[in-house]
């Protein structure tokens, strides 16, 4: 094609510039801003001067495009790096938050021993509006190995211990079963309660003896 290019550069001298389009038209041709059907395109076949100018504009345009593409490419790489670092930072924060949450869960998954002494507490059967005098009944929101000393005169046997939002025991948060045994004149029962899902606040701790199905409840606070 170089030979043909030389042909058009040399073989059609038009020093008087007869019928030549304006410079801006040649520039627009070179920059592909004019349609294929523009008559100036065919003029280049009969005017070496215009063809030379066209080639000059074309070369400069192609060079500037190349430079622009290079700049855009570098900007894209830089933007990608910024985006990647941003995503990386966000991902790091997210993983860190997840890790913290996991640590929190792991911490709350570690069973905690707790004791509740109801020996001297007054007891009321479910449905009573009164509250029992109970001190230090405060449990953490985790898995609790709870050792309950049942009220005076309680009998041994199988018990269910449950934590509920209401006195009726219809909104149970956790429950556990254990066999109550007498020891040194006091009857105690050991159960495991999973209180991890419980929000901190006021609850009721209830004991239910299988034999008579009687429920006794006591105010409780979960921290």
């Amino acid at each position: 094609m170089d030979l043909i290019k030389d042909f058009f550069l040399e073989a059609n001298p038009n020093p008087e510039r007869i019928g030549c389009p304006e410079e801006r038209t040649l520039r627009a041709l070179a920059e592909d801003r004019l349609p294929a059907s523009h008559p100036a395109r065919l003029h280049l076949a009969s005017c070496s001067e215009c063809f030379a100018e066209f080639r000059g504009f074309r070369g400069d345009w192609e060079y500037s495009r190349k430079v622009r593409r290079r700049i855009i490419g570098r900007a894209a790489v830089a933007a990608s790096l910024i985006l990647a670092s941003g995503v990386g930072g966000w991902e790091y924060q997210r993983q860190r938050a997840e890790h913290d949450a996991a640590v929190q869960v792991a911490k709350s998954s570690v069973p905690v021993d707790a004791q509740v002494d109801l020996f001297n507490a007054g007891t009321l059967r479910g449905g009573d509006d009164g509250t029992n005098e109970l001190q230090q009944v405060s449990l953490p929101a985790s898995i609790v190995h709870l050792s309950v000393t049942l009220p005076r005169f309680s009998q041994s046997g199988r018990y269910e211990v449950l934590v509920s939002r209401d006195k009726a025991g219809s909104q149970v948060v956790a429950n556990g079963f254990g066999d109550a045994e007498e020891n040194s004149g006091k009857v105690g029962v050991k159960v495991t309660l999973d209180l991890r899902s419980a929000q901190s606040g006021a609850y009721f701790l209830a004991t239910v003896r299988d034999a008579d199905n009687g429920m006794y409840y006591y105010p409780l606070r979960i921290k």
Binding site: M1, I4, K5, D6, P35, A36, S37, L42, G56, G59
Partner: protein, 193 residues
């Protein structure tokens, strides 16, 4: 001062004053074009031509209606003149590196003759429409659709016309009695200096 690659142009008028920006821009554009179009020409020689053109333009800036056109025409003229002058030049050289330095110039004579004959053939054997198609191809309007739009042809006719132009060009080149200069062994006429 203008730049093209590593070549700096010292664009001043005859009194050593910096040329107007329009002239500088025009000369630099023409210089870049010659560097691209004729890469085998000596950079320093082309730069000297460009500076000469700039100096000449600086002598009568008000008479130049289009600095860009003037610069292109003037510099292109210098290139043509150089090819013409060197095509007929006989040089007496020694052997070795000095000889090799002149090889390109010695080869330019058959190259120019070859081009003259070939260009004559292209002019006579190619129709105006063929030349239009060729110049469209050189503008990167290579699809039959573009050629069809430019020449007012149907797509099929444009596709066929492009194919025929290529065949004609090939026939002209194949039938060319003068071999390509690059394929010739340089039988240099040498005389001891």
């Amino acid at each position: 001062m203008g730049t093209m690659g590593q070549t700096l142009l010292h664009l001043v008028d005859q009194r050593g004053q910096t040329l107007p920006a329009t002239i500088r821009v025009a000369v630099e554009a023409a210089h870049r074009w010659v560097r691209r179009e004729y890469p085998h020409l000596d950079d320093a020689v082309v730069a000297e031509w460009a500076e000469d053109v700039g100096r000449a333009m600086g002598a009568h800036p008000d008479d130049i209606r289009s600095p860009h056109r003037y610069a292109f025409a003037a510099l292109h003229g210098k290139v043509r003149e150089w090819f013409r002058r060197n095509a007929s030049k006989e040089i007496s050289v020694g052997i070795g590196s000095e000889l090799e330095r002149w090889v390109d110039i010695d080869l330019s004579a058959p190259r120019v003759m070859h081009q003259v004959v070939l260009f004559d053939q292209l002019k006579t054997k190619l129709s105006e429409r063929d030349r239009h198609i060729l110049v469209l191809l050189l503008q990167d309007q290579t699809s039959p659709a573009s050629v069809a739009a430019a020449l007012g042809l149907s797509y099929a006719a444009a596709a066929k016309a492009i194919q025929r132009v290529k065949e004609r060009i090939a026939a002209i080149l194949m039938g060319e009695p003068i071999a390509e200069p690059d394929q010739m062994s340089p039988h240099l006429c040498e005389s001891e200096s």
